[in-house]
Symmetry: C2
Subunit: 129 residues, 2 copies
């Protein structure tokens, strides 16, 4: 990996991502970065998100295959997807290591870890019905 520099653009993206509790798309981040740096380009957003991922400061989330979302929390944690409004939330609760052991015993592969995504109706949508 080559030497990385902390540019204004990269710093802005990282700060915005750490501030937000939700998991914005690249273009949502773009809109917000433009408030600070009006002539920033979408290409710059994508390039920096990729660098920040390599550096382990940001996680990419696969909601579905339409577009990627980004998470400023690099810790291992699960996500919840609301089927009604499409929002993505972090879940409270710890990583379930037992799962890796259970499935290691039943399968021939060397399992290093897992991701889990929960789905249902979020608290906001429950209350607005």
């Amino acid at each position: 990996m080559t030497q990385k520099r902390m540019t204004r653009q990269r710093k802005a993206i990282l700060e915005i991502l750490k501030d937000r509790k939700d998991h914005p798309t690249a273009s949502e981040i773009y809109i917000q970065v433009r408030n600070r740096i009006p002539h920033v380009s979408l290409g710059t957003i994508y390039r920096n998100l990729s660098v920040l991922q390599e550096l382990g400061q940001v996680q990419e989330i696969n909601v579905n295959n339409n577009f990627k979302r980004y998470d400023g929390n690099p810790e291992q944690h699960y996500h919840f997807f609301c089927q009604d409004c499409g929002s993505v939330y972090d879940l409270y609760g710890s990583y379930q290591e037992e799962l890796d052991q259970i499935f290691s015993q039943k399968n021939p592969h060397k399992i290093f870890g897992h991701n889990a995504d929960f789905f249902g109706t979020c608290s906001h949508c429950i209350n607005s019905n």
Copy 2:
């Protein structure tokens, strides 16, 4: 939902998907369907995969955001992604309902279910090193 017809194309896609143990992409399916129906089009593959999903006969798998993969096994089951060769396998072992309960207690959302993807090195890659 409107009435669905079992066309040659739809039948071919379904049969191919049920036969394969791996989880092909739309264009891999396209290549195989062309052996039976030379003038089939990619658009037809996509449209039928979408219909077969609605009918609950096929599952869509999000490997990463580059493209979708399809699974001819509509049962709830977990997947394993090999980080070395990129293959996707079905895992043996049952759905862990407890997970839904554990995280329902710790979070304000109504959880209906979850997906889990495991990763590591597959048995084939272990043996070839």
